[in-house]
């Protein structure tokens, strides 16, 4: 087991799961409407907040962490607003995007300082636990300016975790990390999500969100475009035919067979195989195996080409 998993196993699942909710929240800065009538709910586990640059992701995180009060609507964590409410504030940890770290401090000093700011009864122990969780204990006594990007992020996460918050908010946490650091951070966040914490992280790199998030919230120009599991979201887009890539023992013959199906809207032959546009996802997926068996064609590959988060996102942003 990795250190993350063993650490979380020891502590067990926290009692009570925070419900984060936005109720018709709108927020503007002067003339700019950053968040426009957003209603959503988050529960335990890892949720990815996804959207193009400037879509309002950072604003949502700031509203949740109590730095902003919504111009309209209500933001609640466990039923209470976090705005200027220290009790609720204590339930939330924020890992901001920019390097808001005093680089000359060591990680231990920084995290301990954060613990003290939260007026924890035993700041040193809390800091130690947090550092263990992010696996920084080895380097904890070096100045943060000597850290790599990944370690700095982990230091920030430790400082945000030191008061054991139910809700952890991360703004673009993987920026600039190399693959190994990213995998570590993903393991860490996954572990925290399994503990029952509510984790919301924003990103515009789909690869990361696809890998880590259980559910996604897609924000486009201040509006919530979609929520949930991205594959299910894709199925909900019934007005767009689903695209599949097929390879078989006889592509041309299979093309002939498939175009005869009412569920199939279009077929095109390419060097990578067949591309099939299916207007009826359910019917097509049921008929495919039967039809190819009847025609004596062997299937070698079937891949849903536009069920990736990238395609779903492109459709949502494009729409």
């Amino acid at each position: 087991m990795t250190a993350v998993e063993s650490a979380t196993a020891e502590r067990g699942v926290s009692t009570g799961s925070a419900v984060v909710s936005f109720d018709h929240v709108t927020h503007w800065y002067g003339n700019v409407v950053a968040v426009n009538d957003i209603t959503l709910e988050l529960g335990p586990g890892v949720t990815g907040l996804l959207g193009p640059n400037g879509a309002g992701k950072s604003t949502i995180l700031h509203l949740l962490s109590g730095f902003l009060s919504p111009s309209r609507g209500a933001v609640t964590i466990d039923g209470t607003s976090p705005w200027r409410n220290p009790a609720v504030f204590e339930k939330v940890g924020l890992v901001p995007e920019r390097d808001s770290v005093y680089a000359f401090l060591t990680a231990r000093e920084f995290v301990t300082a954060s613990a003290r700011l939260h007026t924890l009864p035993d700041p040193k122990a809390a800091a130690e636990r947090a550092l263990e969780l992010v696996e920084l204990t080895g380097a904890a006594d070096r100045a943060i300016q000597t850290y790599s990007k990944g370690m700095r992020q982990r230091a920030k996460v430790a400082a945000a975790l030191v008061h054991d918050p139910q809700v952890l908010l991360l703004d673009e946490p993987f920026n600039g990390m190399d693959p190994r650091q990213r995998l570590h951070m993903m393991d860490l966040l996954r572990g925290l999500g399994r503990e029952g914490r509510t984790i919301l992280f924003s990103s515009h790199i789909l690869e990361e969100v696809e890998r880590l998030a259980d559910t996604v919230q897609v924000v486009v120009a201040g509006r919530l475009a979609a929520s949930g599991d991205y594959r299910t979201i894709r199925r909900l887009m019934t007005n767009r035919p689903h695209v599949f890539v097929l390879r078989s023992t006889d592509d041309r013959a299979l093309a002939r067979v498939l175009i005869a199906l009412p569920a199939v809207q279009g077929v095109s032959l390419g060097e990578n195989g067949l591309e099939v546009h299916a207007s009826d996802h359910g019917a097509f997926t049921r008929e495919l195996a039967k039809a190819s068996r009847t025609a004596g064609i062997g299937l070698r590959e079937l891949i849903p080409a536009d069920e990736s988060l990238e395609s779903v996102f492109a459709y949502l942003v494009g729409a």
Binding site: D178, P179, T285, L288, A289, G298, L299, R300, I303, P304
Partner: protein, 316 residues
């Protein structure tokens, strides 16, 4: 003809120790072939050190390196005339038009004035900037700015392009366009490309080869094909009835494992495909995925090396 003459970059035992005590590169030996090569894992000090050494701007503490057949220690200036470099950070002025800027940099590469104008025009055309090129760069979107950066790397007809995080800051559509452009350059233009990126999906998408560096040392250098070899497992997903399918397949003697949303079926012979197809047809199940599992580049960086044959949990 030996392989050495083919290699675009040839580094032997490259070590760089800075006066402060930091060792950025340690006994790094690598060879970059023509084609599109991904450079992964080097971050911060290591990457910028390597780039400076390749451009002949920094003398390594130890080791030798040849770029395009030229010795970086003694012929750095000639190398810089034949290598196009696209930095990661913002480096474009606001108040100059794209045409003027790329033309000026073409001159700085050593092109005579008229040639610089022509090459700049062509480079801007190849990267897809049309009438925008007469506007000031300050008015450009991120995607357009990245294209200008690429155009200035391309303007001197380099033998090697060094692209540092070329999709930085781009949205998915912009990323697609940039990756397609890079692929075109690497395949059609006859220019060797090295792409430094931390996004492994990009690397898998466009690169022929991969060089992975970690801690200043070479972690792995291999072709993408060899790193994404097929595993003897077939991923099968159905929208419903997974358990029934699993039981049915097992009953026919196939090795079946559950993973995530679907099943993994051990495939050692061609007949397995038909068996799966028939099982799905018999049970009248909606088949949504049939995919031969492959290794992924990411495995290099996972602490736990997957056992041979077992794909990682996160893959499905």
């Amino acid at each position: 003809m030996s392989d050495n003459e083919q290699a675009i970059i040839e580094a032997t035992a490259l070590t760089m120790r800075y006066p402060g005590g930091v060792t950025a590169l340690s006994d790094l030996t690598l060879s970059v072939e023509p084609g599109i090569t991904g450079l992964v894992g080097a971050n911060g000090a290591g990457k910028s050190t390597l780039i400076k050494i390749l451009l002949g701007l920094l003398t390594p503490t130890q080791g030798r390196v040849r770029v395009l057949g030229l010795d970086a220690r003694t012929q750095g200036e000639r190398i810089r005339g034949r290598v196009g470099y696209m930095p990661e950070h913002d480096c474009l002025p606001d108040d100059v038009t794209a045409t003027e800027f790329v033309t000026h940099l073409g001159r700085m590469t050593g092109l005579p004035p008229t040639a610089a104008k022509e090459q700049a025009a062509e480079a801007l055309r190849h990267v897809g900037l049309h009438e925008e090129r007469y506007r000031q760069i300050g008015t450009f979107s991120t995607g357009m700015k990245q294209r200008v950066k690429l155009a200035q790397a391309l303007v001197g007809d380099p033998g090697l392009l060094l692209l540092d995080e070329p999709t930085n800051g781009l949205d998915p559509a912009g990323r697609d366009a940039m990756l397609a452009l890079i692929q075109r350059i690497g395949t059609e233009f006859g220019i060797a490309v090295v792409v430094a990126s931390h996004l492994l999906s990009e690397i898998e998408r466009i690169c022929d080869h991969l060089v992975a560096v970690e801690g200043g040392r070479l972690l792995r250098a291999a072709s993408l094909v060899s790193m994404t070899r097929a595993l003897p497992w077939l991923a099968v997903e159905v929208d419903e009835g997974t358990a029934r399918l699993s039981a049915h397949l097992a009953s026919t003697g196939l090795t079946v494992r559950e993973q995530g949303r679907g099943l993994l079926v051990r495939v050692d012979e061609e007949t397995v495909f038909d068996a799966v197809r028939d099982a799905v047809a018999d049970l009248d199940l909606p088949l949504t995925r049939l995919e031969h599992r492959r290794h992924h580049v990411e495995e290099l960086f996972a602490d736990l090396e997957p056992e041979q044959g077992e794909p990682m949990e996160a893959q499905l």
